[in-house]
């Protein structure tokens, strides 16, 4: 296992653990897994999870069982930009299905797949709390709302130009 956090990420993790009472440092697990995902290319390998366990001082299994429960943690490699289109109720009746179809066609992948250049992963996710601005998608820390095909085109070009990992946390 050769993985390690950057100095900054490690310092932040130690800081986060202090937010919880003595002996309850496991509480910082989810925040630190977010950091790990941002540090390690957008997903959590078993090495990454073992490393997080060592940072907090808990057993690896305690990390696996949590990482596998929450939908924001990727346990398999993903593209630099994960496009998460909300397809629940209010979004579904206001264009989400059309947006997903458009993105599938444009990126030449299906929901759940990653483009061959490793740039984009397309996901259909459940309610993101943006029901009044449908259709919408999340990519990293950002919400992109009231989308049209044209706006989706612009977003894809922008993300291609930025060409970086879009993480939920913006510590990088």
């Amino acid at each position: 296992m050769n993985l390690a956090f950057s100095e900054q990420a490690l310092a932040l993790s130690k800081e986060l653990m202090k937010r919880y009472p003595e002996g309850k440092q496991k509480s910082a697990l989810i925040p630190i897994l977010h950091i790990a995902q941002a540090e390690f290319n957008g997903w959590l390998s078993s090495d990454a999870m073992d490393y997080v366990a060592s940072v907090i001082g808990i057993k690896p299994i305690e990390v696996y069982e949590v990482a596998s429960f929450y939908s924001m943690f990727n346990l398999k490699p993903v593209g630099k930009c994960v496009l998460e289109v909300c397809h629940t109720g209010p979004c579904a009746i206001n264009g989400a299905e059309g947006l997903i179809a458009y993105l599938e066609n444009k990126l030449n992948i299906k929901v759940g797949q990653t483009t061959t250049d490793g740039m984009f992963t397309l996901k259909a996710v459940e309610c993101l709390g943006s029901c009044g601005s449908a259709p919408m998608l999340q990519c990293g820390v950002n919400y992109y709302e009231n989308l049209t095909n044209e706006k989706a085109d612009d977003l894809i070009s922008k993300l291609k130009t930025e060409n970086r990992l879009q993480a939920y946390t913006d510590i990088k």
Partner: protein, 448 residues
Amino acid sequence: MSRKILLEHIDVPGINTFETYRKMGGYRSVEKALKTMSPDDVVEEVKKSGMRGRGGAGFPTGMKWSFLAKPEGKPRYLVCNADESEPGTFKDRYLMEKIPHALIEGMITSSYALGAKTSYIYIRGEYFYVLRILEKAIAEAYANGFLGKNILGSGYDLDLYVHPGAGAYICGEETALLESLEGKRGNPRVKPPFPAIAGLYACPTVVNNVETIAAVAPIVNMGGDEYAKIGIGRSTGTKLISASGHINNPGIYEIELGLPVEEFIYSDKYCGGIKNGKRLKAVVAGGSSVPILPANLILKTANNEARLMSYESLSDGGFVSGTMLGSGGFIVYDEDSCIVRNTWNFSRFYHHESCGQCSPCREGTGWMEKVLHRIEYGHGKLSDIDLLVEVSKKIEGNTICPLGDAAAWPVASAIRHFREEFEWHINEAKLSQTRNFGLLAAHEAPVK
């Protein structure tokens, strides 16, 4: 009826900063509580206000607070539930993003009332950008002496932290939220004990929704009795309503409870009527979990009285002809909407979000999704309709937490009110694959 309390200063430029928020009268409730009131006085005012929890269940907040155990030598916690995930609900995000200090102020005043020295805001992971906004606001509150040691010289200490989740609807259930905050899977706990006795780290804990906590500040400022005069009957105060679906003006509206539903849907001050001049077909009034009602029953009760936006009026008629105010997630469906497809969509959501602890929910939500899928795609049988009702009944009331009920109600109510539409999908199977109750649009759902 358009009284604004929480959103009174929403349009003031810079209201997201401490300086402007303070200038507009912010943090007065902290000063009033810490300097002139005992913690129990604050609890008393909240009780008098009659405010009911704004997260969905509608339990009186003052009463919830009074259940908090106070054993010697054990810390007590206040945890804010900012895990807003109920489909159709986006009010807490709006409030936290636009006026973060409204929540921070409410957290300080409420923590004081409950005797909490450390409080947490548990926010859904997807709202990471809102978490950053809150952290900035918290830093400002610390810098101005409203958080930390000896707040305003009162001797009261409070630390406040924001904690992200990572994508799980179930963590909106308060005991699942506490499990998650402890760094575990979001599996709801068996109750009792309730969090008021054994919550976070097995210590007495109160979990309240964002809007509930934010409303504590105006309640303390104006006094519980004054607040109780706002609204109608036992539905006191104002409520943030998230309006979405086929309406002209989707967004967040603060309404005085008691506003007629018809006015809310058709007035230009609110939803502004149905988009593209179409007719109203149905409404889900309080987030995806509450029963869907057809147009006639959402506008008027079964007794032909105007339906109001209040806890009592929306639930008038029980589940036979009524629904619930819930979280205030108000989803409007126009005449072209496909109820079967919408019900399948919601079932998929609950199946995805079931934590898997209780078999009726874990298996039942999966079955409902499958059966609804086959009806929607033209492979259903007429017996499927009763099968769905039966499965929903086997889930309801048979699970540790209310997610089971939340999954069952939308299915049962859709069949109760729109049975002929389900039958059409089955009888006209070929057509339903292409024409969806004669409505092409709902299936193609073109991007605007």
